[in-house]
Assembly symmetry: C2
Homo-oligomer: 352 residues x 2
Amino acid sequence: MALHIALDAMGGDRGPEEMVSGAVMAACGSDLEISLVGDQDRLGSILATHNSSSSRIHLVHASQVVGMEESPFDAIRKKKDSSIMKAFALHKEGRVDAVVSAGNSGATLAAALKLLGRLEHVSRPGIAGIFPTLKGPVVMMDVGANVDCRPEHLFQFGIMAAAFSQVLFGLDRPRVGLLSIGEEGGKGNVLVKKSHELFQQSSLNYIGNVEGRDTFQGDVDVMVCDGFVGNVCLKLSEGLAEAVMGMLGEEISKSFKAKLGYLLAKDAFVSFKKRVDYAEYGGAPLLGIRGNGIICHGRSSAVAIKNAIRVASEMARNKVNDRILELFSLDHLLMQQVDTPLLDTAVSGVTT
Amino acid sequence: MALHIALDAMGGDRGPEEMVSGAVMAACGSDLEISLVGDQDRLGSILATHNSSSSRIHLVHASQVVGMEESPFDAIRKKKDSSIMKAFALHKEGRVDAVVSAGNSGATLAAALKLLGRLEHVSRPGIAGIFPTLKGPVVMMDVGANVDCRPEHLFQFGIMAAAFSQVLFGLDRPRVGLLSIGEEGGKGNVLVKKSHELFQQSSLNYIGNVEGRDTFQGDVDVMVCDGFVGNVCLKLSEGLAEAVMGMLGEEISKSFKAKLGYLLAKDAFVSFKKRVDYAEYGGAPLLGIRGNGIICHGRSSAVAIKNAIRVASEMARNKVNDRILELFSLDHLLMQQVDTPLLDTAVSGVTT
């Protein structure tokens, strides 16, 4: 049977038009069923402007919308008929196999947690970021859901991101690294040092500490960090890439010769932009919930949405959660051990 | 009287030749006195290859060298006659006004702490990183000296980096931001939230939380973070800039037309590289010690060393430490308040 994806069609900064375009593109190139969740009348009229008569795109009404700046917890408490809550409700009822949203990411996470709940063994579901590198993509987890973490949380992020990497990128034994500030195991903060000990004992293909400069070299498949560090990295990378292109553009615009050169080299710039475009993977998978979810960038284009729908369907088709549970079971003894909170040991290691 | 800078001439990955070249360049364009500290015979013969007959370059013998991978604490305990220890000993004796080293940065920090000690009010000296942006430079502190911090440490980093920014970049009221994962004061991890409360009460020109994507926009002059996050940012930026140029280069090399275009635009690329080159500021100032120090990148070129010597001399000439003490005195009531350790409150806020 064809997979069915729910799209929060009211989310994102670019409005429902962009969401509907993304859904139409996704339906067109696949056999997926897609439910657009949101204001049925508005979505219906946008859909009518497309020349798509696909019977695989459905409309599901939701009377409310969660704003980008709303408090996630207020949003899920007070707006029970929002497009994001409705999308996850469809998933809970088994009517769809995955949810994609470019809306308020905190509310998306909160809705997933409330309606689907956590996967067995998982203390903290998190968000995995997919970064382009000189070789293949690298998965970084967590990139924002959990800002204060304990070692066992980082260990679980490693397991979940490795399972995702296996399923999505077909890697048999993804190389898992712990993001730190020196390659030796003794380097890092207390959280990283304690986490390193757990990873060393695990059955993951753990390659030790990796540094920020390794992120884009492609020599590691999974980078583990807490959600504060991961989110800073995500936004710094975005900002730096934009600034680099901005500064280069300023320099090029200073001379006619350079502008001419740019025109000649333009195809290369376009290929480059495509290569580093976050839209290629569409969004960031939400891992550790009893279901499949993708959180997209607020600025997502239709292409990003199309790709996010593809990734969401691959997560469902290849049963990423079963793979996560398999990896957890390989380390079940270690998992029992870390059921004892490590916070106290971690904190006692903080020196003044 | 002319200022006198000690250069650890044995430090750095490129060998003493590069260090001596940097010193010759620095002496040539200024009235600075420079002491090259290290193997006197070797440095003497390198210096002889330069056509510089400057009487302002001196040789100070040190019989030992600290390797890049040595443990800082072992190094300062066991190698008392290393070039880095000798350089700081000269500073302690008042024979030089500042120290520049491209050697083992942990050992540089440890030597400074052991021989010069901490500045009054400073709990944790740290390292400030200087990043190029679309507008002016931004100072990020700490970028690696302190991986586990308390709110009062972050507050002190803010004061020290603001003083540096005043003195070096002539900013009257540098805009100080706290690196976090959302602009609202309520966003961030426990450390950032507690630090935010301190900054809000301070007399600094505190603009609130800033995000990684703001780093390169030039809308903030000082970014405060713990040394783990700062070091990750520093290395991620280096890695990303290299990867961006690498990927762009690969795309350009794929077609003859693009290669021709690149040749025409080459001047723009060169100006761009100069603009983002870490060598422009030479290195990272060590702030919070009773003296002036610059820690340079191990890969520092002669130009980077020359610039680091210039920055070190400006720190000494403009008495950055007096400015730090002035800023501390403006917030002395707040400083007394934070003398009570905030770690316990911070930790109790960590939820599971």
